[in-house]
């Protein structure tokens, strides 16, 4: 399954975050958003990934970018995960129908029933501006890639 690419219209979605609040693609209009697909709450690698993103969140927001984590975990699990990380990054639950948004964005791993690790940057016009999938889900996309992509989009 191919990851959505730059220039494509961002696939529509409407998910609930860790607090049960609805977050839809249309809510992202007018801002730069980075969707952070990750396989599972509480897995050690995801924990490192979101911890470091949390540290650079003020810088990313200064650049006008908002981050959203997405996994197939249930909202209550994501609530606990968010609390344990002490992160402000909203975590969206792609739980039911499971992985529907992961499928739409081309990050679904059918044999494991999870989303693979990937980043998708969506512009204020709801067009995909950049996307990245590491060669292995064990490889964590560095926060530098997000800054580089913001630079490239701004250029």
């Amino acid at each position: 399954m191919a990851l959505v690419e730059s220039g494509a219209r961002a696939p529509d979605f409407e998910l609930r975050d860790q607090d049960g609040k609805k977050v839809a693609l249309r809510d992202l209009e007018g801002q730069t958003s980075v969707l952070v697909f990750f396989p599972a709450a509480f897995s050690p690698v995801c924990t490192d990934q979101l911890s470091v993103y949390e540290e650079v969140l003020p810088d990313l927001r200064e650049r006008g970018a908002e981050l959203y984590g997405i996994s197939v975990d249930g909202a209550f699990s994501l609530k606990a995960f968010q609390a344990s990380l002490g992160t402000q990054i909203p975590l969206l639950s792609d739980f039911h129908p499971k992985g529907e948004v992961a499928r739409a964005y081309g990050v679904w791993v059918p044999d494991r029933g999870v989303a693979t690790r990937a980043l998708v940057m969506i512009g204020p016009d709801l067009e995909v501006k950049w996307s990245y999938r590491p060669p292995s889900p064990l490889e964590i996309p560095g926060a530098n890639l997000i800054f580089d992509a913001l630079d490239a989009v701004a250029a």
Binding site: D48, V52, E55, I140
Partner: protein, 153 residues
């Protein structure tokens, strides 16, 4: 920076147990070590406080002594423990306490952290050898390479 031999730049978090393990392994090798702070506070609440404490000790010329002290015992990291460590190392505790809250020290740690982010560091420890990133506790292959290349072993 200390030592002679292959340059190893390490990004580490003083509250991270894997960094302590990596430190123990690297201490056995004759390498030139450069330490850079990568405190991940959402994971280790004391990480930044400890990074500042280490830089404050560095002002008194005791960077590696304090580094060894913190990495050698990550079970005692509260303020009174830090003061005890200073006393044991013969440091001026009042100056240490003033310096660790200074902007200069905070800026130094922040500069290290940002350089790590720019270099793509996402977990601690991450070692850079010959410009190549090695996340995690160094494995036997990397250790053999570092040990084997040393001219001072």
């Amino acid at each position: 920076m200390r030592g002679e031999g292959t340059l190893v730049i390490e990004y580490a978090d003083l509250e991270c147990p894997y960094c302590a393990k990596a430190n123990a392994l690297l201490s056995e090798l004759a390498v030139r070590r450069v330490f850079r702070h990568f405190p991940v506070v959402s994971k280790h609440p004391r990480a930044r406080v400890l990074a500042h404490a280490l830089e404050a000790a560095a002002i008194q010329g005791a960077f590696w002594e304090m580094h060894g002290s913190l990495m050698g015992d990550q079970g005692h990291l509260d303020d009174p423990h830090l003061w005890q460590r200073c006393e044991r190392l013969g440091l001026d505790v009042a100056a240490f306490d003033r310096d660790r809250r200074s902007d200069a020290v905070a800026d130094r740690v922040e500069r290290d952290f940002r350089s790590g982010v720019r270099a793509g560091v996402m977990s601690t420890p991450t070692l850079f050898v010959d410009g190549e990133a090695h996340p995690g506790v160094p494995g036997t292959a990397l250790l053999a390479r570092l040990g084997g290349r040393s001219a001072h072993r």
